[in-house]
C-alpha cells in the first residue's frame, strides 16, 4: 500500500520472497489475465486509475497472490493502491478489501516495482476471479507549457502506457482516459485508438505478452487548480477537561503551470472565467461535527475570508487564501479548532485510554507531500503507543504548554505523499490517572494563597530600621 518501500524489514521480506519463489516454482507464469479494463481519470490533479482485472489460474497449484507492476517513474508518484474483490452472486454482491503490500522481485525488467495482492481465498487451478484495483498518482500531470500567463488556460501532459504493465499475459485489454474537457491538444495513437467527447479509448488489444509497454502522451487542458500542501503539521492536544484542540499548519502551493508575467486585477475581476481560470481561490475543509472556536490565520494575523457551515453530521470550513493562488504561488496558514473530547477519546478494555482520530488532511482534493501528526497527551500520561493502518515514521517528543512542570508527551507520526482517500483513523493508546487533572488548579490555588499570605504578612510586619 505504501509507495516508497520502508527500509525496515525490506531485507527480511526480500529474503522471504526469494525463498518463496524458489520453493513454489514461480507462480507468475501460471496466472494470466483474461480481461483487463483500465479507466484513468485525469480530471483533477490527482490521477485516479480504476483497474478491473479478470485473473485466471492456468497452472496446477493454487495461488493466493497476484502481482501488480508499475514502471519506476510512476511508483514515485503512487500515493495509494487498493484492491477489492466482489463476493457473492448477482444482486447480493459485496466488496471485500484485500491486503496489498509492496514487493521486490529479483529479476524485475527495467526496474519495475511490484505490489502483491493477497487474495482472501487461494485461486485454484482453472478458477478465475475479478479484482477491482484503485490506485492514485500525485504530481503526475506535468504542465506544458510550464509557464502560462494570466489569461491562458493550463495545459498538461500525462504520460502512461497504452498497454497495462503486467508480469502476466493479458488476453484482452482496454484503457480509457477521461479528460476534464473536450479540449485535447494531442494524444499518441496506438491503434485502435478512438476519441469521443471527453474520453480517449485505447484498445481493445489482444494477447499481449508480459511486460508489454507502449508509451503514450496525452496533452490536454486541465483548468482545475492543483492545490498541493507541501507540508502539513497537525497537532492534536488532548485536555481531559473536555476539549480536543487541533492546530494545523499548512504550506500550500499551487502545483500547476507557473504564473508568468503580470497579474492584472482588472482582468481578474471583470472576466473571471477567462482570466486566471486555473487559479486557486478557495478550499474546502471537512471538519468533524460539533467543531467549535475555529480560527484561520497566518503569521501576520487573522484571515477574514472564511465561512463555517455546521450540521449534525459534519462541519465544512470554506477558506480563501489572502490572495488567489496562481501557479507556483505559495501561502502558509494555520487552521485551528476545538472538538468535544467525548467524541474522540474512549477507554479500552485494559483500562487504557485511546484517541481515535483521522490521520489525513481535512482539505478536499489536495495532495499532501509531507504530513506530520503530533498527538499531545496530557501531562502525566504514560506508555503511549500509536496504531496506524499504514506504515509511518514515529517518535516521541516533549512539549511544554501552560503550567507544565514535567512536560507533555507528544507522539509524532510522519508520512509522505498523502491523498484524501487515506483519511483513515488512527489510535493512540496511553494510561492516565485522573488525579493529574487536579495538579494545575491546585498549583494556581496555592500560588494565589501564597500571594495573599505574603500581603497579610507585609501589612503586619514593620520592616523599618528606625524605632
Amino acid at each position: 500500500m505504501e509507495a516508497p518501500i520502508r527500509a525496515t524489514g525490506i531485507l527480511g521480506f526480500t529474503l522471504f520472497s526469494l525463498l518463496f519463489f524458489v520453493c513454489r516454482s514461480s507462480p507468475l507464469h501460471n496466472l494470466f489475465i483474461s480481461n483487463a479494463e483500465r479507466r484513468i481519470d485525469v480530471t483533477s490533479h490527482i490521477v485516479k486509475v480504476y483497474l478491473t482485472l479478470k485473473v485466471e489460474n492456468a497452472g496446477t497449484t493454487p495461488t493466493s497472490e497476484v502481482l501488480l507492476a508499475f514502471p519506476p517513474t510512476q511508483v514515485d508518484h503512487l500515493a495509494t493502491v487498493e484492491a477489492l474483490v466482489t463476493k457473492g452472486k448477482r444482486k447480493k454482491t459485496t466488496l471485500v478489501r484485500l491486503d496489498v503490500k509492496p514487493t521486490e522481485l529479483p529479476d524485475a525488467p527495467n526496474g519495475a516495482k511490484y505490489f502483491t495482492i493477497y487474495l482472501a481465498n487461494p485461486l485454484n487451478s482453472g478458477e478465475s476471479t475479478t479484482l477491482e484495483v484503485l490506485y492514485l498518482f500525485t504530481h503526475s500531470l506535468e504542465p506544458f507549457p510550464a509557464e502560462i500567463g494570466q489569461s491562458e488556460s493550463q495545459l498538461v501532459h500525462y504520460r502512461d502506457s497504452a498497454l497495462i504493465l503486467s508480469p502476466y499475459h493479458i488476453k484482452q485489454q482496454t484503457t480509457f482516459i477521461k479528460t476534464p474537457s473536450t479540449k485535447v491538444e494531442s494524444f499518441t495513437r496506438v491503434e485502435p485508438t478512438n476519441r469521443a467527447g471527453t474520453e480517449i479509448k485505447y484498445g481493445p488489444y489482444e494477447d499481449r505478452p508480459p511486460y508489454s509497454f507502449s508509451p503514450i502522451l496525452v496533452h490536454f487542458e486541465n483548468n482545475s487548480p492543483f492545490p498541493v500542501v507541501e507540508e502539513l503539521v497537525r497537532e492534536v492536544e488532548i485536555s481531559h477537561w473536555g476539549n480536543l484542540q487541533v492546530t494545523e499548519q499548512y504550506t500550500l502551493v499551487h502545483g500547476g503551470a507557473r504564473h508568468k508575467g503580470v497579474f492584472s486585477r482588472v482582468d481578474y475581476q471583470s472576466r473571471p472565467t477567462l482570466s486566471g481560470a486555473s487559479s486557486l481561490q478557495h478550499l474546502l475543509a471537512r471538519l468533524p461535527p460539533r467543531v467549535h472556536s475555529v480560527y484561520y490565520r497566518d503569521e501576520i494575523g487573522n484571515i477574514s475570508s472564511s465561512h463555517l457551515r455546521t450540521d449534525s453530521r459534519k462541519s465544512e470550513l470554506e477558506i480563501e487564501p489572502r490572495y488567489p493562488l496562481f501557479g507556483g504561488w505559495k501561502a502558509t496558514f494555520v487552521i485551528g479548532y476545538g472538538l468535544p473530547l467525548q467524541d474522540f477519546l474512549f477507554e479500552s478494555s485494559d483500562d487504557r485510554r485511546y484517541l481515535n482520530f483521522t490521520f489525513g488532511c481535512p482539505l478536499l482534493e489536495t495532495v499532501v507531500d509531507k504530513l506530520t501528526v503530533k498527538v499531545v497527551l496530557p501531562e502525566g500520561s504514560k506508555d503511549p503507543s500509536a496504531v496506524v493502518p499504514f506504515p509511518v515514521d514515529q517518535h516521541l517528543e516533549t512539549k511544554y504548554s501552560y503550567l507544565d512542570v514535567v512536560g507533555r508527551t507528544v507522539v509524532v507520526m510522519e508520512k509522505k505523499n498523502l491523498v484524501p482517500v487515506q483519511n483513515s483513523h488512527f489510535q493512540v493508546y496511553y494510561t492516565f490517572k485522573p488525579i493529574f487533572m487536579l495538579a494545575e488548579p491546585l498549583m494556581l490555588a496555592s500560588a494565589f494563597f501564597l500571594f495573599f499570605v505574603a500581603c497579610v504578612a507585609y501589612l503586619h510586619i514593620d520592616l523599618s530600621i528606625r524605632k
Binding site: R322, Y323, G328, T332, S401, L403
Partner: protein, 721 residues
C-alpha cells in the same frame, strides 16, 4: 470623589467591625484594584473588534526587533546590523533605537515562560501598552498622594485610566515607545518629587534609575532633562532652595546622566548636545549656590558677603558662558537639532524640515483635538492650577510647571498631548478632589457639627474651618448638593465620552480598514496584509521593495523583504531620492530605481475604496522632500494655479509622473461607482485625467482585492539584440 464613595460603603463595613483606618485602606486598595483593571480592559476594544494584532507603523518595527531579541538574545540584538532596511546603506539597529520597550516586552515574555505560561511574543507585545497604562494609574495615585492627598491620588488614578489623550497611544496593539515611556516619565517625576520632599538619597537614586528607564524607552526623555533643571531654577529663584533639593537634584542628575550614557543611541549626548546643557548649567549653578551658602554661613559680615556674591556670580556666569561658547565653536557641543527647534517654534519645521512637517502627528494641535482628548479636564485644569497656587509647595510648583510646559508643547504638536495628559489629569484631580472634599465637608459639618476625624491634611482642616465660617449662608446645604450632583454629572459625562472615544476613534489598527456595507454590515478591507503576505510568499527572499517611507516598517515586518526607506527617517537624502523617483517621468525614474537595485515598487491607492490617506494624497510631500534635495523637482510643476488636481485639468507633469502612472494604471477601465464614468476616483471624487497609461519599464505584479495596495515589478533591461 473617593471621599464620597466612602460613605455608603463605610456604613456597611461597620458591621464587619473594622477599624476606620483598615476600612479606609480596604476601600483604597479595592478602588485602586478596580482602576487598575479598568485601565487595562478599556484598552482592549481593538482586540475585541478586530484581533490581537500590532497597530500602525512604528509598532511593527518594535515588534520585529522584539522578535529578534527573543529569538537571538540580547547580545545579537545589541549588535544587530539590519540589511533589510535602508538598502543599500543598512541600519545599525542596536545603536539607533531606544531598547527599553523591546527589553521590557522580552523580559515579560521570559518571566511568563518561566512561570510556564506558553504565550506568544505577539500577545505580550500587544498587551504591553495596556499593562503599563495600568501601572501608570498606580503611579498617578502615588504622585497625587504626594502632591496633594490620598483623595486627589485616587481621582488622578481614575482620570488617567480612561483619559483619551493617553488611551490614544496605549490601546492594545499600539506597541510603541510611548506606551511604556509615559509610565517611566510619570514614575521619574514622582520619584524626583518624592526625593525633593524627603531629601532622601534613596528616593533620589530611585529617580535616577527611573530616568535611566525613561532614557532607554523614548526620546522624550529630553523633556525630563529640561523640565527638572527648569523646576530647580524656579525653586532657586523663588527662594525655596534647600538641602533636600540639593541632594535630590545632584544625585539624580549625576547618576542619571551616567546611566543614560549606557544607552548607545544616547551616548555622550548628555555632555555634548545643546539640548542637555541646561541641566548641566543648573548643576553647576547648584554648586555655586551651595558654595555661597557655605560662605554666607562662614562670613558673618553681610557687606563682605554681598561683595563676594557679586564677584562669584559674575565669575561663574562668565566662566559658564565662555565654556559654552568654546564648546559650541569647537563643535564639541552640538547645536540644537531641528526637532528641538520645531518644538520651540511651531513654524520652524514647515520652512526647514519638510520630513517632520509631513507627518500628521507633528502638526500643531487644533482646539477640537484638545477637547476630544481632554474633555472636562480642559476646564478642570485651570481650576486645579488655582488650587495649586493656593497651596504652594515644592510638589505643587513641580506639577504646575509640568502642566504649563507640557500644555505648551501639546499645542505645538498633536502627539505631545500625550505628554501633557498625566499633568492635566493630576491637576484636574486636585481640582475635583478639593472641590468635592470642600462640598462634602460642608454637608457633613451641618449634620454632625464640627467634625475632626476622617479628613486629613491641612487643606481639609482649612476647608472645614471655612465651612464653619460660612455656615450663616442660606441654602448652603442645597447648594452643596446641587454642586455635587453637577460634579458627578460632569464626571459621568467624562466617563461616557472617554469610552466612546476609545471605542470609536482610537481602537482601529489602521492596517485593517473597516467600513459599513450597504446593509449595515461591517466590511473589512484587509488589503495591506494581503499585499505584504503576497510579498512574503511570492517574491525572491532578497527582493528590494521601493515604497514611500510610511510603509517601510510594515513591509520589513510583515512582508519580510528589504526596503529602500522606512519610518526611521534618518537619511533625508535617501528618502528624497525615492521621492524624486516617484515624481519623475518613468524613463527618468527607472534610472534611479536601477541605481537603487529596486525589484518591486509598492504604492497605496485609495481610488476604488475611497480611502483618503493614500499615496496620491501624500504625493505633494514626496515632491517637497524630493525637491528639497534635488532642485530638478519643483513643486509648481505638479500644481495648476496652486491647486492640486488629478483630473483632466491637472498639470502635465503630474499626469505622467511615476506615482500617478502606478496608482492609476488600468484604473481608467474600472467602474468604481454606479452612475459615474469609468476611472472615477472615489477618494478625490473626480474622474482621472490620464486613462491611457502605458508602462514601459514596469509591469503590474500584484494588486489587492480592493486595489488599496498595488505592487509593480521592475522589468529587467531589454536585450540589446
Amino acid at each position: 470623589m473617593a471621599a464620597v464613595a466612602n460613605m455608603p460603603v463605610s456604613d456597611l463595613l461597620k458591621s464587619f467591625k473594622l477599624k476606620t483606618k483598615q476600612q479606609e485602606l480596604l476601600i483604597r486598595v479595592s478602588i485602586l484594584c478596580l482602576v487598575y483593571i479598568l485601565a487595562f480592559i478599556t484598552r482592549l476594544f481593538s482586540v475585541l473588534r478586530y484581533e490581537s494584532m500590532i497597530h500602525e507603523f512604528d509598532p511593527y518595527f518594535n515588534y520585529r526587533t522584539t522578535l529578534y531579541l527573543t529569538q537571538n538574545g540580547f547580545y545579537d540584538f545589541w549588535n544587530w546590523f539590519d540589511y533589510e532596511s535602508w538598502y543599500p546603506l543598512g541600519r545599525i539597529v542596536g545603536g539607533t533605537l531606544y531598547p527599553g520597550l523591546m527589553v521590557t516586552a522580552a523580559l515579560i515574555y521570559r518571566i511568563l515562560h518561566f512561570l510556564r505560561f506558553a504565550v506568544h511574543i505577539r500577545e505580550v507585545c500587544v498587551l504591553t501598552a495596556p499593562f503599563f497604562a495600568s501601572n501608570t494609574t498606580l503611579v498617578a495615585y502615588f504622585f497625587g498622594k504626594e502632591i496633594w492627598d490620598t483623595g486627589a491620588g485616587l481621582v488622578a488614578a481614575i482620570l488617567i485610566a480612561v483619559c483619551p489623550g493617553y488611551i490614544s497611544r496605549s490601546v492594545a496593539g499600539s506597541y510603541d515607545n510611548e506606551g511604556v515611556a509615559i509610565f517611566a516619565l510619570l514614575f521619574t517625576f514622582y520619584l524626583f518629587v518624592k526625593a525633593v520632599n524627603t531629601g532622601s538619597l534613596a528616593w533620589s537614586l530611585a529617580s535616577a534609575f527611573g530616568y535611566f528607564y525613561m532614557v532607554s524607552a523614548w526620546g522624550g526623555y529630553v523633556f525630563i532633562i529640561n523640565l527638572i533643571p527648569l523646576y530647580v531654577l524656579v525653586l532657586l529663584i523663588t527662594g525655596r532652595y534647600s538641602m533636600r533639593l540639593y541632594v535630590a537634584y545632584n544625585c539624580m542628575y549625576v547618576l542619571g546622566m551616567l546611566l543614560a550614557m549606557q544607552i548607545r543611541f544616547v551616548g555622550f549626548q548628555h555632555v555634548q548636545s545643546g539640548e542637555h546643557m541646561a541641566a548641566m548649567g543648573v548643576f553647576f549653578l547648584m554648586q555655586v549656590f551651595y558654595f555661597l551658602d557655605w560662605v554666607k554661613h562662614m562670613l558673618s559680615d553681610t557687606k563682605l558677603f554681598q561683595a563676594f556674591l557679586r564677584i562669584t556670580v559674575t565669575c561663574a556666569v562668565a566662566v559658564g558662558t565662555i565654556a559654552l561658547g568654546l564648546g559650541m565653536l569647537s563643535g564639541y557641543i552640538s547645536p540644537w537639532t531641528g526637532r528641538f527647534y520645531s518644538l520651540l517654534d511651531p513654524t520652524y519645521a514647515k520652512d526647514h524640515i519638510p520630513i517632520i512637517a509631513s507627518v500628521s502627528e507633528h502638526q500643531p494641535t487644533a482646539w477640537s483635538s484638545f477637547m476630544f482628548d481632554f474633555h472636562i479636564l480642559l476646564f478642570l485644569f485651570p481650576a486645579g492650577l488655582y488650587f495649586c497656587f493656593k497651596r504652594l509647595s515644592d510638589a505643587t510648583i513641580f506639577i504646575v510647571m509640568y502642566g504649563l510646559t507640557s500644555m505648551y508643547f501639546a499645542g505645538v504638536m498633536v502627539r505631545l498631548i500625550l505628554v501633557a495628559t498625566p499633568a492635566v489629569c493630576l491637576i484636574s484631580a486636585i481640582a475635583v478632589s478639593a472641590t468635592v472634599k470642600n462640598l462634602t465637608v460642608l454637608l457633613r459639618s451641618k449634620n454632625k457639627g464640627v467634625q475632626t476625624g476622617s479628613t486629613k491634611g491641612s487643606s481639609s482642616s482649612k476647608a472645614s474651618s471655612k465651612a464653619l465660617l460660612d455656615q450663616s449662608q442660606p441654602f448652603q446645604k442645597n447648594g452643596a448638593i446641587a454642586l455635587l450632583f453637577g460634579a458627578f454629572y460632569l464626571l459621568s459625562k467624562y466617563a461616557t465620552h472617554c469610552t466612546w472615544v476609545t471605542s470609536e476613534a482610537y481602537s482601529s489598527p489602521s492596517i485593517v480598514l473597516a467600513a459599513r456595507g450597504a446593509h449595515g454590515s461591517r466590511v473589512i478591507f484587509d488589503d495591506y496584509r494581503e499585499a505584504y503576505f503576497w510579498l512574503r510568499q511570492n517574491t525572491p527572499p532578497d527582493a528590494k521593495v521601493m515604497s514611500w517611507w510610511d510603509y517601510g516598517y510594515q513591509i520589513t515586518a510583515m512582508g519580510n523583504r528589504t526596503v529602500i526607506v522606512d519610518n526611521n527617517t534618518w537619511n533625508n537624502t535617501h528618502i528624497a531620492t525615492v521621492g524624486r523617483a516617484m515624481s519623475s517621468y518613468e524613463d527618468e525614474a527607472i534610472e534611479i530605481m536601477r541605481s537603487l537595485d529596486v525589484d518591486y515598487v509598492l504604492v497605496v491607492f485609495g481610488g476604488v475604496t475611497g480611502y483618503s490617506s493614500d499615496d496620491i494624497n501624500k504625493f505633494l510631500w514626496m515632491v517637497r522632500i524630493g525637491g528639497g534635495v534635488f532642485p530638478v523637482i519643483k513643486e509648481p510643476d505638479y500644481l495648476v494655479n496652486g491647486e492640486y488636481r488629478v483630473d483632466k485639468g491637472a498639470a502635465p507633469k503630474m499626469l505622467n509622473c511615476l506615482m500617478y502612472k502606478l496608482c492609476y494604471y488600468r484604473f481608467g477601465e474600472m467602474l468604481t461607482e454606479y452612475g459615474k464614468p469609468p476611472g472615477y476616483d472615489r477618494a478625490r471624487g473626480v474622474e482621472i485625467g490620464n486613462k491611457d497609461i502605458k508602462l514601459e519599464h514596469l509591469e503590474e505584479a500584484f494588486t489587492t482585492s480592493n486595489w488599496i495596495v498595488r505592487i509593480y515589478k521592475v522589468k529587467p533591461p531589454n536585450n540589446r539584440w
